[in-house]
């Protein structure tokens, strides 16, 4: 099944989802982008240049790690982890960003803008911009700036301008709105590096294409390591880029079950979560340039979302997933903040891995299901990022007293310096 073979007149649509819903002023820009992307996708040299940079700059292919201790402890399926946390800048976000950077050069533009939630995409974009010699502006919700300051610090030191967005919920979706506002003004020299498989066509297809490198590698590596395909593949789903990335290695194989793990936040009836498909609060809508399931009220206004993981805290979902979910090709589950902390603890202690809070959502679901699977079954989890960046959030979540004292002392030191 090639989800990117659109029927005539339905380019950019996955079933009912996707499309382009943008102001007329961007029509020529998005068309230029679609054409450029189409050319790149049909140009083998583009892909090989892309892979070459990922290899020499970002350290791809990332390995697959078998988790003997956790597998044994859970007593069911054998657990394998695809290590995209080992990428340069610490997450899968760099894949997409390098790809769009190359594309930006083909477009002849010298400036990039990007939204960021967790900060990972902004960090990756700022890195790529430094490397490719592009001007760079990053939009980030004020709430996220506060919870992801280390990433902001690095973005700025990499030469990017970080703009704190104070509209709306002051999180990812509002940063996307600000990007749109910048883009409609500066499209002549500016490429919008959207960070996930959302937004207007060709973004979902383009981001998926770049992220497919994860799945292509993983399929081959797992076959080499185990001689077989996984029985289940788990990935966390914010916008849905790392998940579609790894899933593309297995979409053709009916024996492989694909599970997208969303942010359950405070739980199923809390109204404070970001589970679009796993819970039943979302409905189909059109916003931020595309049609998909959104967490919105009956009037079409977006709901407040919440997750311990800034990178999953988004109202909409990859339109491809809305389709694949309806087609029953992908199952969706949610993990709550509490479950995430538990899974993180377990993974750190048993295997020496520190998944990002986003990633830990995939671990939660895998850990729940592994014991009910056979010893000869295989689970593959996509470790989309590393947890280092989350130290403030994790320390807060775990209520770590030593960390708090440290921060208090640091603050005292700064106060003393002032006088």
């Amino acid at each position: 099944m090639d989800i990117f073979e659109f029927p005539p007149g339905r380019e950019g649509y996955y079933g009912e989802y996707g499309g382009v819903f943008l102001p007329e002023i961007l029509q020529s820009t998005i068309q230029e982008l679609q054409e450029c992307f189409r050319k790149c996708k049909n140009d083998e040299k583009f892909w090989s240049e892309y892979i070459e940079i990922l290899k020499n700059y970002s350290g791809r292919p990332t390995p697959i790690t078998y988790l003997p201790n956790l597998s044994k402890q859970l007593g069911g399926a054998q657990i394998y982890v695809k290590r995209d946390d080992l990428n340069h800048t610490g997450s899968h976000k760099i894949n997409n960003v390098i790809g769009q950077g190359l594309l930006c050069k083909r477009l002849g533009k010298n400036r990039v803008i990007a939204e960021t939630g967790a900060g990972q995409h902004g960090f990756a974009t700022a890195t790529m911009a430094a490397r490719f010699g592009l001007d760079c502006t990053i939009y980030m919700g004020e709430v996220d700036v506060a919870r992801q300051r280390p990433n902001v610090f690095w973005m700025e030191n990499l030469g990017a301008q970080v703009i704190s967005v104070t509209d709306g919920q002051k999180t990812l979706k509002d940063a996307i709105n600000e990007c749109m506002r910048d883009w409609v003004s500066n499209m002549a020299d500016t490429h919008y590096v959207l960070g996930t498989a959302c937004g207007p066509h060709p973004f979902p297809e383009m981001v998926s294409w770049f992220q497919s490198v994860i799945g292509l590698e993983a399929r081959e590596q797992l076959l080499e390591l185990t001689g077989s395909l996984p029985d289940r593949v788990y990935a966390c789903v914010g916008g849905g880029s790392n998940a579609i990335g790894i899933f593309q290695g297995f979409l053709d194989s009916d024996s492989v079950e694909l599970i997208g793990c969303e942010a359950g936040g405070l739980g199923v009836e809390s109204n404070l979560h970001a589970a679009r498909l796993a819970y039943s609060d979302a409905s189909v809508g059109v916003a931020q340039g595309f049609k998909t399931y959104f967490l919105q009220n009956g009037q079409g206004n977006m709901l407040k979302t919440h997750s311990i993981a800034a990178g999953l805290d988004y109202i909409g979902i990859n339109p491809i997933f809305s389709y694949l979910w309806e087609e029953k090709k992908v199952r969706f589950e949610a993990a709550t903040d509490e479950e995430v902390k538990e899974a993180l603890r377990l993974t750190m202690r048993s295997e020496g891995l520190i998944p990002a809070l986003e990633t830990a959502h995939a671990f939660v679901t895998a850990i729940k299901e592994a014991p009910h699977m056979g010893r000869n079954e295989i689970i593959l989890i996509n470790q989309s990022g590393r947890g280092d960046k989350d130290i403030f959030t994790i320390a807060d979540a775990l209520d770590d007293q030593k960390w708090k004292s440290f921060i208090n002392e640091k603050s005292d030191q700064y106060h003393r310096e002032k006088y």
Partner: protein
């Protein structure tokens, strides 16, 4: 009387019409009514009523905040339609709905248009609904004699303008410059050239908006455009000096 006819009729006695903009429920529906009264008495010809949306990504900071505040105070689409009904009953200017497509999509296009007609609206402006996605709602609108306003922009190619022109009904909204609503536009040769270019592709009246700030801009458009759209400038005047500021602005335009 259709929107195009209304504009053409008015243009016989006025060399340029004025379209004003109001965000429903911001600061409150009472203030909205007060604003409309001022607009009516200053001779405003058209008013677009913006239905607030949580993701107004084509709007600048002033309208973003207005959308947000209005929603925060509980504004519903029902209230917006009720308010439109009130406005079209009380005043003589024509009223257009302005908003984002999701508001329409969630309600259903048919239902939306039915209610728009019932509220006395003349047409609608949905800036995030491109032509390709508008085929259905446009044909439904035309059946109901509503004007589905099409936007033409400085980045539209001739080929694109031809397409847009062919689909245009009632009035064309020419976006004077790139960017979002709110910041100032200098109405210079490039804007006039853009209008000229758009004219080649459509027969319906042309309204020009985005950054029209006052009398000088309206004068510059006179003889080129049929309608000058005064959006953020009005909201800015209201925020700065309340009803009297708004009155001064609109009186200055028709003086």
């Amino acid at each position: 009387m259709s929107l195009a006819e209304y504009i053409q009729e008015k243009r016989k006695t006025k060399d340029i019409l004025i379209m004003a903009h109001v965000v429903c429920g911001y600061p409150s529906f009472e203030d909205n009514i007060r604003a409309l009264e001022i607009m009516q008495s200053a001779g405003v010809d058209l008013v677009e009523l913006q239905f607030p949306f949580s993701e107004p990504s084509a709007d600048g900071p002033l309208f973003v905040q207005a959308n947000e505040e209005s929603l925060k105070s509980g504004t519903t689409i029902g209230q917006c339609f009720d308010f439109m009904k009130e406005a079209t009953t009380l005043f003589s200017f024509k009223v257009l709905m302005m908003g984002y497509y999701n508001t329409v999509f969630k309600m259903g296009e048919e239902e939306f248009l039915r209610r728009l007609v019932k509220a006395g609206g003349t047409g609608f402006i949905l800036p995030d609904l491109p032509l390709e996605e508008a085929v259905n709602i446009h044909s439904l609108a035309i059946e109901k004699d509503l004007a589905p306003i099409i936007l033409m922009t400085p980045t539209s190619s001739n080929e694109r303008l031809a397409k847009l022109g062919a689909a245009s009904r009632g009035m064309v909204y020419v976006v004077a410059r790139k960017g979002v609503t709110g910041s100032k536009t200098v109405i210079g040769d490039n804007v006039l050239k853009l209008i000229e270019q758009c004219r080649k592709h459509t027969d319906v009246p042309i309204a020009v908006g985005f950054g029209i700030g006052g009398r000088k801009d309206v004068d510059a458009l006179r003889g080129h455009a049929d309608v000058a759209i005064v959006g953020s400038a009005a909201l800015r005047a209201w925020k700065r000096s309340g009803a009297s500021g708004l009155q001064d602005l609109f009186l200055s335009l028709s003086r």
